[in-house]
Structures are given as structure tokens and as C-alpha cells.
């Protein structure tokens, strides 16, 4: 009797321990290659870690703990880097992400609605081909568009030349898409000049971004009962009234999480920005992650870069908390 009790207790303990056994491999490895480096990063963010400390690391005799100096330097723009202002980069980064979503979502919805028209010819072909931008890797998209926007040999200027020639102009179009620093619309975004490179990136990323939104919107459109539209048209509602009063409210629960997803993706779109403009001209298209990358890869200021990464981490945390709230709020609406 005692023995049996003991055995069941042992089995119970074993069962309680089981989930931890399953967690051991992942936590062991993440402890070494993920958590420890992240802690290490926080430590070196308080030091003046540079190339000469690479060999000995924290044991290096000249390594100094400089307290919050790196953080203060970043916020006050005291870093000896040309054209760097943290708050301008931050503002541009948010603007970049928001303006992308602002265009991608309505375009995706609109095109999904067009393709949802009953009796439209060639629907399937259009759908199959419109999905192509999603399939191409972003680094390829960015490099290809970079060449398209080339001042001398790029397809965009050649395309515009072809149009102006058609209208009788003889001049060759030479727009400096990626290198012109003078913003085409001065003061459009107070505090952060939007150069032509920004608009070029918007065009390229628009090409890349709307098809995904169209996929999501199509899914949402399919789930709207057709009778709603029939009832509405019997009551005499026009097409646009139906769109605003039936379509928009009913696809909103699907589109808001998609927009949030698009926002977070655009916010940290490293490879695309780095491959297309490298943050230029004069850091006008630099986003937080590309700047952090330049700090490590080109300037080799590991301490400052670590501080910068910690700052990005907290910005991402704030963004996550806000977007989470938005997503949850829309979920509640859709359930109610």
C-alpha cells in the first residue's frame, strides 16, 4: 500500500517534470546563443567597445564603462556621424511604415473588389499573375528597382523619356531618383526631408506590398454573404453606398491585423532599404535598423551600436503593445 502510494507520487512528480524535459534542449541552446548574447549586448552598451577591444572583450584593460554616455550621445546627436539625428530617423521610420500601409491596404482592397466583380473576364489569369511580387525575394526586388531608378541607364528614366518623346519633347529625362537631396515637396513632413529616394522606395515597396493585402482582402470579401448586397440593392442602395456600408465594415476585422502586420514588416524592412538606397542620400532614407547596421558594419562602434539596438528593442516593444491593443480591439468588435 505504502509502496504503491510512493510509486504514484513518483510517477506524478515525473509527469510534472515532463514539460521541463521537453523545454531543456531549446532553452539550453537559446541560453547560450540567444539570451546570453542579449545580456552581453546590454552590458557592452554601457562601454566604449570598439575594434581594439575585439581580442580581449570585456577583459580588455582599456575598456571603459562609460555609463549612459552612448545612450545620451545617440539621443542628443552627439555622435561624430554626418547627418545623424536620432529623432529625425525615428520620425522618418514611423512615417515610412505608416505611409506604406496607407497605400498598400486601400489598393489591395480596391483591386480585390475589382477582381471580385461577377462576370469579369480573365479573373483567374489576373489573380495568378498579380501574386508574382509576393513570390520574388525582397532583396531581388530591391536590387532590381535600384537599377530601374538608375539616373543614366535606369528603366524609369527611359520610360519617361519614351513618353516625353511621344509628346514631342526631345530632351532625355534625367531624374536623379536615388541621389537628389533636394526634396521635391519641401516641408511635406516637418523635421524630416522626404527626398526623391523616399518616393522611389515607396513606388518599389508599393509594387511589393499591395498584392499581399489583395490576398487578405479577397479572403475577407469571399466571406461576405451575397444576400446582403441583394437586399441592399432592392432597397435602392447604390454601388458606392454598398461598398461603404457593407463591404468596408465587414472586411475591416480582417484588414486591420493585416495592416498591423504590414506596419511591423515595413518598420524593420532592413534588406529592402539597405539594398535599394543604403539609407542615402545623406541618410535621408535611413531607418533605425539600417543605421544600427552602419554603426556596426562600417563604423565598428560596437558599444554605441549595442546601445542603439537596446533602444530599438524598446521602441519595438512599445509598437508591439500598441498594435496588440489595436488588434485586440478589432477582435472584440468583430465578435460583438
Amino acid at each position: 500500500m505504502e509502496l504503491a502510494k510512493k510509486q504514484t507520487r513518483k510517477a506524478k512528480i515525473q509527469r510534472n517534470m515532463l514539460p521541463y524535459y521537453y523545454l531543456v534542449p531549446a532553452f539550453l541552446i537559446m541560453g547560450v546563443i540567444t539570451f546570453y548574447p542579449l545580456i552581453y549586448q546590454v552590458i557592452i552598451s554601457f562601454t566604449n567597445f570598439e575594434t581594439q577591444h575585439l581580442l580581449l572583450g570585456l577583459k580588455s584593460p582599456e575598456l571603459e564603462f562609460v555609463g549612459l554616455k552612448n545612450y545620451i550621445d545617440i539621443f542628443t546627436g552627439a555622435l561624430p556621424v554626418e547627418n545623424f539625428n536620432f529623432f529625425r530617423v525615428l520620425e522618418f521610420n514611423f512615417w515610412w511604415a505608416i505611409s506604406n500601409v496607407f497605400f498598400h491596404v486601400p489598393a489591395g482592397v480596391l483591386i480585390a473588389v475589382i477582381l471580385n466583380t461577377e462576370g469579369l473576364w480573365g479573373k483567374r489569369i489576373y489573380r495568378a499573375l498579380y501574386i508574382l511580387p509576393v513570390v520574388v525575394p525582397p532583396i531581388v526586388v530591391a536590387t532590381v528597382w535600384r537599377n530601374i531608378f538608375d539616373e543614366q541607364y535606369g528603366a524609369m528614366n527611359q520610360f519617361l523619356t519614351a513618353i516625353t518623346t511621344f509628346f514631342g519633347q526631345t530632351d532625355v529625362v534625367r531624374i536623379r531618383w536615388l541621389t537628389e537631396f533636394k526634396p521635391p515637396i519641401p516641408g511635406f513632413l516637418p523635421g524630416a526631408p522626404l527626398t526623391l529616394a523616399y518616393y522611389s522606395m515607396m513606388i518599389a515597396n508599393f509594387w511589393l506590398g499591395w498584392p499581399f493585402m489583395a490576398v487578405v482582402a479577397t479572403g475577407a470579401l469571399q466571406s461576405i454573404p451575397k444576400d446582403l448586397y441583394e437586399a441592399a440593392s432592392i432597397d435602392g442602395a447604390t454601388g458606392s453606398q454598398q461598398f461603404w456600408n457593407i463591404t468596408v465594415p465587414l472586411i475591416r476585422p480582417a484588414m486591420i491585423p493585416a495592416a498591423v502586420y504590414g506596419f511591423t514588416i515595413s518598420f524593420n524592412l532592413f534588406a529592402f532599404v539597405f539594398f535599394m538606397t543604403g539609407g542615402g542620400p545623406a541618410r535621408s532614407t535611413e531607418i533605425l535598423v539600417t543605421f544600427a547596421y552602419n554603426l556596426v558594419r562600417n563604423l565598428r562602434w560596437f558599444g554605441v551600436a549595442a546601445a542603439f539596438a537596446v533602444i530599438i528593442f524598446f521602441i519595438a516593444l512599445v509598437v508591439l503593445l500598441i498594435t496588440n491593443r489595436i488588434t485586440r480591439a478589432t477582435q472584440n468588435i468583430s465578435e460583438a
Binding site: 499573375l129 520574388v136 528597382w145
Partner: protein, 340 residues
């Protein structure tokens, strides 16, 4: 198929399939599209199609061109089908002393290796989070997902510094030192044979560090959707938790394991942040790094037809995987990713 389903039923399945196969025309309410609207919409659709195809046709045309000079006028349809550019890329991609085979091998080693290792490590943790209720579950889950907030460069920087300590040094006199455990004698500089930071293995470790949380997240999301009744039935039949995991859960999760692997593959194939930071020797370069090397200010000597051929080559495996597995990938993203 959709003709059997009443139009009012929200169609199930993944969004991409619905996007591609949507055909509710069997349920027209009798309204026909007036011709003028049909034509108007066709014009709009064709304009959109032109904008979608523009960069694709441009780069494909360029890659089939034999001209090594930069394009002087816009061409969107190949006038010739020349494979010279592809041949040159396969033969000698850049000015660096590295062959295409080596680049390809490096890219495949990294993307497949990291994908498999991350999967192997993640699956048991995902199972534990999905199926067990234990003390600290919430805390540990938050802990696992915290690294997802860190941008790739934020994880790459400390790993760069840490992995840089692991070196093999030839101290001369047939002595080899494995740093940081053993160093050469005081004053002897020695010759660096191997630096973990400057190797594919080091890059692989660094990418795995970032890939693990995502793999756990993705798999947990899927395992949550496997009904508990199956395990309960297995338990009644006398299976213990380990048997349930190996015999019931793993086989059921196999499709999602594959999806997670291929999502990882698509991501790691394009990996640039870590490899560009870590690697200094051309023999370790990946295809993504080479593509970057072929544009911009450093690439004035590279003909654009060769760049275009390289772009097509880098894009093809991803496009292929995407198209072959579109159903699973989009489904996987929505079951695993979004709901978390």
C-alpha cells in the same frame, strides 16, 4: 467545386487558394456585367498587370541579352534569347575568387542547415508550450518570444563579438592553440587558422539564434490546433506522454514541420545582415551577398545582363518553393503566425 457550396457560406481554406480559385460566377443573381463596365474594368486590370509585369519583364529581358553595355533604351520583351549572361554568372560570378558552385553550396548549407537545426530544437519546446500546463509557463513563453523584438542586427552584434573569441591559432613549432581555452605562449602571435566568427558555422549559429523563437512560435501555433481528443484516446490506450509525442503529435505535425522548414529556408536564403557582417573571405560568400555586390557603386564593372541573370537565379528557388507550397505556407502563416 465552389458551385456546390452556397455562395453565402464563407469558404474555408487558406486565403491564397481562395484568392486564386475564387469562382462564384455559378451564383450570379442574374445580373450581367454591362459591356462598358466590363471593358472599363478590363482596361484597369490590364494597366495593373502592366505595372506588375514591368520589373519582371525588364529583368528577364535584360538577363537574356548578350549586350554587356548598360541598356540605353527601354526593352521589356527579349529581342534575343542569349544565355551568355547566365553562362558567365555560372562560370565566374564576380571579380572575387569564388565559383558559382561554392556560392550556391554556401547558401544551401546555411539555409537548409539552419532550417533543420532550428526545427529539431524547436519542436519539443513547442510541444511543451502547447500541451502542458506548468509553473512558469507564461514567463518562459514570454522569455522565448522576447528575442523576436530584437532586430536581426541587435542579435548579430553581440554574437559577432562573442564568436570572435573562438579561434584556432597555429603557434608554430607544431603547437595549435584552441582559443579561448588555450592560447599561444606569451608574446607569440601565431597564425590564425580558423575564426568561428569568420566562418559559415559561426554565421549558422548566429542565424539559428534568431530563427529559434520564430520556429517555436510557428510550431506552437499549429500544435494548438491539433485536437486534444487524439491524445486522450492515446492515453486511454495506455500510451505515455513520450509515446504520444512521437507516435501521435509528430506525424500529425509533419506538414507544419515542413512548412516551418520552408519558411525558414525562404528567409535564410535571403539572409544578409549576419553573413555580410561576419564573413570576410570570398570563399564563404553567399548568393545574396554576391547579388548585393553586383549593384551600386562598387559594381561599375559588372554588366547589367549578368546582374539580371544573377537576380533571376537568386529569385528562382524562393519562387519555386513559394508556388509549390503556397497552400501550406499561407495556411501556416495564418494558423501559426497570426494567432501566436
Amino acid at each position: 467545386m465552389s458551385t456546390l457550396v452556397p455562395a453565402s457560406t464563407p469558404s474555408k481554406g487558406n486565403p491564397l487558394v481562395r484568392f486564386l480559385n475564387m469562382n462564384t460566377s455559378g451564383h450570379t443573381s442574374g445580373r450581367n456585367l454591362p459591356l462598358w463596365r466590363q471593358l472599363l474594368l478590363q482596361i484597369v486590370c490590364i494597366l495593373i498587370l502592366c505595372s506588375v509585369m514591368f520589373p519582371i519583364m525588364y529583368i528577364v529581358t535584360l538577363s537574356f541579352s548578350s549586350k554587356t553595355t548598360r541598356p540605353s533604351s527601354l526593352e521589356l520583351f527579349p529581342k534575343e534569347i542569349s544565355l551568355v549572361a547566365y553562362q558567365q554568372v555560372l562560370d565566374h560570378p564576380t571579380g572575387n575568387p569564388v565559383t558559382f558552385t561554392e556560392l550556391l553550396r554556401n547558401s544551401i548549407t546555411l539555409s537548409v542547415g539552419v532550417g533543420l537545426v532550428a526545427l529539431l530544437i524547436a519542436v519539443t519546446a513547442a510541444y511543451a508550450f502547447s500541451r502542458f500546463n506548468f509553473k512558469m509557463r507564461e514567463v518562459l513563453m514570454v522569455l522565448v518570444f522576447i528575442p523576436l523584438l530584437m532586430p536581426a542586427i541587435g542579435l548579430a552584434t553581440p554574437l559577432y563579438l562573442l564568436l570572435n573569441n573562438f579561434r584556432i591559432v597555429d603557434c608554430g613549432k607544431d603547437i595549435t592553440a584552441f582559443m579561448p581555452l588555450f592560447a599561444c605562449d606569451e608574446g607569440v602571435r601565431g597564425k590564425l587558422i580558423f575564426n568561428l566568427r569568420d566562418s559559415l558555422l559561426g554565421v549558422g549559429i548566429a542565424i539559428t539564434a534568431g530563427a529559434l523563437p520564430f520556429a517555436i512560435w510557428n510550431l506552437k501555433g499549429y500544435l494548438d490546433t491539433i485536437p486534444k481528443e487524439l491524445e486522450e484516446a492515446a492515453a486511454i490506450d495506455g500510451a505515455d506522454a513520450n509515446q504520444t509525442f512521437w507516435k501521435i503529435i509528430l506525424p500529425l505535425a509533419a506538414p507544419q514541420l515542413a512548412v516551418t522548414f520552408f519558411l525558414g529556408f525562404i528567409g535564410h536564403w535571403q539572409e544578409f545582415v549576419t553573413s555580410w557582417l561576419f564573413l570576410s573571405q570570398p570563399k564563404d560568400y553567399t548568393l545574396a551577398m554576391t547579388l548585393y555586390n553586383m549593384t551600386g557603386q562598387y559594381a561599375s564593372s559588372i554588366p547589367w545582363n549578368r546582374f539580371a541573370a544573377m537576380a533571376v537565379i537568386v529569385a528562382l528557388p524562393v519562387a519555386f518553393v513559394y508556388i509549390a507550397l503556397q497552400k501550406q505556407i499561407v495556411g501556416g502563416l495564418t494558423t501559426g503566425g497570426v494567432k501566436g
